[in-house]
């Protein structure tokens, strides 16, 4: 049994300290210790994208990182994206408006990926959107609603920051 290692991770602007076994993934740390259960786990080997979070502003698979590696970093999960409890982030609002989800399991990963994608490419073509969401799997929607939501979110974010 490997020794537990102390870590300090800023999760959604709050500092979380914990003791982690080296093999504990960041995804499990976020769910079990930081109680961010919006981080969803499906494949647990980097294929499905459900566990996508922002690490120091960049979208990453939290199932492919160990919690020890996140020591000192800044993590944003779907819980930390909206400005406050009453307001949705424009990407979240667009997913609701455009039927970008059905069962909702994949949605947190999509929301994070789309937010990061639009940050890098604020005015994407439909083809670029399809490439941008290719790293997340959805088994319900057939993706049409997700593409439409990404398009709407792009427009809303551009209006927010002209």
């Amino acid at each position: 049994m490997a020794d537990a290692i102390p870590v300090s991770v800023t999760v959604n602007n709050r500092t979380r300290r914990g003791l982690v076994e080296p093999r504990l993934t960041l995804a499990d740390f976020l769910r079990e210790q930081a109680l961010c259960t919006g981080v969803h786990l499906a494949c647990e080997h980097g294929v499905c994208g459900s566990c996508t979070v922002l690490m120091d502003g960049e979208a990453v698979r939290s199932c492919l990182l160990f919690a020890v590696q996140a020591d000192g970093s800044r993590i944003t999960t779907v819980e930390g994206l909206a400005p406050d409890e009453q307001t949705l982030h424009p990407v979240q609002e667009a997913f609701r408006d455009c039927h970008g989800l059905q069962c909702g399991f994949c949605t947190p990963g999509f929301i994070i990926s789309v937010a990061a994608f639009l940050e890098a490419n604020p005015n994407p073509t439909d083809d670029e959107i399809r490439h941008g969401i290719a790293g997340n799997l959805c088994r319900c929607t057939g993706y049409q609603g997700i593409v439409a939501a990404t398009r709407q979110a792009a427009a809303a974010l551009r209006e927010e920051q002209p």
């Binding site: 093999r23 647990e44 080997h45 980097g46 994208g49 990453v60 990182l65 160990f66």
Partner: protein, 296 residues
């Protein structure tokens, strides 16, 4: 889907990292971006008593101009390679190949050194490195050595790296002459492992004749491969003539392959699709040359 327990080490220098590898030998594994290693650990396809995390070894990150070419630290993220201006200018093939690696979330963590050390025969950077005669810089407690790509890839997932050695950087020379570069691959789904892929560089002399041909292939053998028959057929041809015959010349690549059949594609399919792809990518590289010539 939980890795077996391991001891975690986070060295901050190459010296400390190779010291750990020397100490623990076969029982230790360097962790780069983790986009291949961590799934393998999670699925228990492999396990190590010691994981040596390289993510805090700052000297292993970054791209530097080097003697007209580039030196790329092994821990440089694929996303950084994708967006680096020096690489785009001096080693266009790396720039063109990078978007084919996984998805952007994978490229945010995945590293060029991790890809080359892992040496999956279906991955992009090893084929580019082989096509461009790149060099691996390898460190251990006994010093640093350099291994050319032609001697680096030994078999599937097997390289010249010994268990106590660490890939610290890669070097690529820029091409001096007018050249065209292209990369493409065939995969079942966007971002999935390639069934076959091609990395092509074509250089011409002052008379517009091909005097350098580099054709790398992925997914069609136990290691990345060079299409030597295609390269030989191209030498001395006028670029425009080669462009007209690109599909036919590409078909020669079937003889340079050693594909396996699996659940994703038969041996025959990989050979046919792969050689068709070589012709297509060759056509793309040559088109750049002829377009540039007519523009000039």
């Amino acid at each position: 889907m939980k890795p077996a327990p391991f001891q975690y080490h986070a060295p901050e220098t190459v010296a400390d990292a190779v010291g750990l590898l020397a100490e623990h030998g076969d029982g230790a594994k360097p962790l780069a971006g983790g986009q291949s290693l961590v799934p393998m650990l999670a699925m228990r396809l492999t396990r190590f008593d010691h994981i040596v995390d390289l993510n805090r070894v700052s000297e292993m990150f970054g791209v530097t101009a080097d003697n007209g070419g580039v030196r790329i630290g092994a821990m440089t993220r694929q996303a950084a390679v994708e967006h680096d201006g020096t690489i785009a200018e001096r080693v266009p093939l790396l720039h063109l190949a990078t978007p084919h690696i996984g998805h952007f979330q994978i490229r945010n963590r995945g590293t060029i050194g991790g890809s080359v050390a892992h040496a999956d025969p279906a991955s992009e950077y090893p084929a580019v490195m082989l096509a461009l005669d790149g060099t691996a810089e390898i460190a251990s407690t006994s010093g640093t050595r350099e291994v050319p790509a032609s001697e680096y890839f030994e078999s599937t997932f097997m390289t010249a790296l010994a268990p106590d050695e660490l890939l610290v950087g890669l070097r690529f020379a820029a091409w001096e002459q007018p050249a065209g570069f292209a990369f493409d691959e065939i995969a079942r789904r966007s971002g999935d492992f390639a069934l076959a892929g091609a990395a092509v560089g074509i250089g011409i002399d002052e008379a517009g004749r091909i005097d350098r041909a580099a054709v790398g292939m992925l997914g069609v053998g136990p290691t990345p491969l060079r299409a030597a028959s295609v390269e030989a057929a191209l030498m001395g041809l006028a670029a425009a003539d080669a462009g007209a015959d690109a599909a036919e010349i590409g078909r020669l690549a079937a003889d340079d392959m050693d594909p396996i059949g699996d659940i994703h594609a038969s041996e025959e399919y990989r050979r046919r699709a792969g050689s068709t792809l070589v012709g297509r990518v060759l056509g793309d590289a040559l088109a750049q040359l002829t377009t540039e010539a007519s523009d000039g």
